[in-house]
Symmetry: C2
């Protein structure tokens, strides 16, 4: 697909105005929008959301507004540009302007909210996650609007302020603003490539079902000299219950029906996965384990992205100080989680676990279960123009196709958007593995920022063409 | 067996001199001999051991001396009386003058080293454990020496200062002083009856083999979103290994050969056990468990005293804070212990556990094991005069025979004395379940103190007669 003259004008504009884009990002990064400290730092959120709304107007957007969320949550920012007309498709850009905490502060070489720039990168909390990435998309839109006078698509922008807190009020907002947010596809830039030469598109992610299981026995801690042999030790029972959840040979989860809703990967998905440069040797290097483990019968790349998983994260109760205290603890509690894949449902899995363990537990103990959150697994349609367009756009700027993978982690917002807005989502991003997201000295490479702007300029054009029925080949 | 006139004189003397005995105990309790704080409080130990040596001379003993222990440990006190002649048997009395710490101090109604007396009891740290009990034996000897002019047995006294620290230097002392401590039987009064009407003789105890088992996998904690399915989680493996140590139905330990050296109780032992007033209902009341557990095929009283046992005390590693953190921990460590019964050996059991788990562990993890101490199981001969004599002596003072049981806890000193001094040991005591040993407001009932003195007065006479070939019946 040839690059259109208007698209070239937008690229030209963006190259001539890199300093303006960078200055804007510096301004955006000065706001200390740490969502876990909200509302103590409410003023920062008010100033930052106002700044974004004002900037969106300057870029050429209309309807720019701060959207309050329910229950006094941090506000979101909305804007739109509808100049492409009703025949053109509409994209919704989602991003977040809140950031992670900055502890340990003493490890930062510069204060986290005083952005610093060197030849390579811009340094500040939020530089990569997600202010820098979402701002790159906004700059791409601005380049179209100012370089060629219009965009090839209608654009809506939603930038929320609670993503690092797992977006507690986003779903209500999506429901409430369903009409305002109506679109043909959604673009999220909040991840990173596998390296500067290997851009990434994530077309799915695993859900999660984290829980606590408590086993209680005696009414108080007992001395095992006096009572050892009288009662079942809750830790001994807990070990048996946890061991019973997973087969020691196949590492399959042993709950009947657990895999009933698990979809095997499609042929197309397996073909895409084959392009991902991750071997067992890489896995051993990255984990430092004596040998790789996990479910038998599936290669590493599939196990960490497209297969469910059971993990124990910690066990509390009893004596954990130095040496030994020969106590029979009154209670033992395990924190565990199950990673889920489409079409598994975290509520159903929680119930399965409860039923299975209740049936296995002896009458010498009592069990209790607490669900510690839940997120749903999701996949996106690889053949929707919103995804397909990214391939051509990346090839134009990076010279290579992105790697298409399903992510192993959980992205609650994807499922929310799919449920309430539109299932067609492009999840990509311009970060890199060394950006130190969530850590001190977070940074965003300038080359990734500028290339990200150009990729998105091209993406708007390619998506518009594909949505009108064009073919890439 | 009738009570001899000399024995009656001793009893008479003790009744006429109760105030002197009590005053002596008050003096002894003023020394703050907390062994876990040694040598910071070395002066207290010096003063207390000197006081004991001086008091023993006043009581009529000879050779009274402070015995230093190796490596600068707290000293012991020794004294003897050999006036019964070579034809008479020799008993060794063992006790300890060190005490437990006093925290939390604010819960004491009176300072722990300012003894207080009311109609019922004497209150101070060490009142019951063990100053009051060992002092009762010394007062019984004094009553013989001053009331009738001699004792029917030769007597040796060893009072150590490190029992609450698990007697780290006692074994070396027993070896070094083997000739000095030679005897026909040993008397220890450091436990309590089941109630004021139910005196107790403990003729055995379980050993213990406490250890840590560490399972390490990845070289650092990993995020389970990214790596879940790539490696075996050390906690998942640890749960399987711990579960494999014990059968979930029979609760038997599953290591091959673990029970090979376990001796079943003898008919005589079972007859004695039948006298112990502990039913399943009592077990449920004392433990507060929903139902009793433990090894199938053995009654509660046998399970807690004469059968080995496996307990998990705590598990460290991973995330144990509030909520969830979906980490695959680099390492998981369990603190566990095995209670052992004759003739199991803690070193052999440690090796068995290591071999068994090493063979079960997958190649995805590494195991390490740390032995956290060890104590040997022991039983005493129920038919030795040193034990038999206690029955008549208790019946004379309490009006009932004591309950003869094997204790479930571990008493390292018993095994040391059996190995190096003499296997014939009477383990009894005059404490009560409410004495608050090791807790604030420790106390010792005056009735138990005075009755304890009289019981020991009678015991010396009965033992001397039995040792010369007399029969109780």
């Amino acid at each position: 697909m040839p690059t259109s003259p208007d698209c070239l004008k937008a690229v030209e504009y963006s190259r001539a105005n890199r300093q303006t884009a960078l200055d804007g990002l510096v301004d955006l990064l000065r706001y200390a929008t740490i969502s876990s400290q909200y509302p103590a730092n409410q003023a920062e959120f008010e100033k930052c959301s106002e700044w974004l709304a004002t900037r969106l107007v300057k870029m050429g957007f209309t309807q720019a507004q701060v959207l309050p969320t329910r229950e006094g949550g941090a506000p979101a920012v909305y804007a739109e540009w509808k100049g492409a007309g009703e025949a053109a498709p509409t994209l919704l850009v989602y991003g977040h302007y809140d950031v992670m905490p900055v502890d340990p502060l003493e490890e930062w070489r510069r204060p986290p909210f005083e952005p610093q720039i060197d030849d390579r990168a811009i340094y500040a909390r939020g530089a990569s996650d997600d202010k820098g990435q979402v701002f790159a998309i906004l700059c791409a839109a601005e380049a179209w609007l100012k370089g060629s006078g219009s965009l090839p698509v209608n654009l809506k922008v939603l930038i929320e302020g609670e993503e690092e807190m797992l977006s507690p009020h986003l779903e209500a907002l999506l429901v409430e603003k369903r009409d305002l947010l109506r679109c043909d596809g959604i673009v999220i830039a909040d991840i990173g490539g596998l390296g500067p030469e290997v851009p990434l598109v994530e077309y799915g992610n695993r859900g999660n079902c984290p829980m606590e299981i408590s086993v209680s026995g005696p009414s108080k801690d007992l001395h095992s000299g006096t009572y050892g042999g009288a009662v079942d030790n809750p830790f001994n029972v807990l070990a048996r219950l946890l061991a019973a959840l997973q087969d020691g040979e196949t590492r399959k989860i042993t709950i009947a029906g657990f895999y009933d809703k698990v979809k095997e990967m499609t042929t197309q998905q397996r073909q895409y996965l084959a392009a991902m440069p991750v071997t067992d040797e890489v896995g051993l290097y990255l984990t430092g384990a004596p040998a790789l483990g996990g479910e038998q019968g599936y290669p590493l790349k599939e196990r960490v992205s497209s297969r469910p998983d059971f993990e124990i994260h910690g066990i509390t109760g009893g004596y954990t100080g130095p040496g030994i205290k020969t106590v029979i603890p009154a209670m033992a509690t395990a924190k565990i989680s199950f990673r889920l894949v489409p079409d598994q449902d975290p509520d159903e899995v929680f119930q399965m676990v409860k039923d299975y363990l209740a049936q296995l537990a002896p009458p010498t103990v009592r069990l209790s279960f607490t669900l510690l959150g839940k997120s749903y697994p999701a996949t996106m349609d690889l053949n929707d123009p919103v995804v397909v367009a990214s391939d051509e756009a990346y090839r134009r700027v990076w010279g290579v196709s992105p790697v298409f993978i399903r992510g192993g982690g959980s992205e609650p917002v994807v499922y929310m958007f799919q449920q309430h807005t539109n299932p067609a989502i492009l999840m990509t991003g311009f970060g890199l593995p060394d950006d130190r997201e969530h850590s001190p000295n977070e940074n965003f490479e300038l080359r990734q920022f500028y290339n990200g702007i150009e990729m998105m300029i091209n993406y708007f054009a390619v998506y518009a063409a594909l949505a009108k029925g064009a073919s890439l080949f």
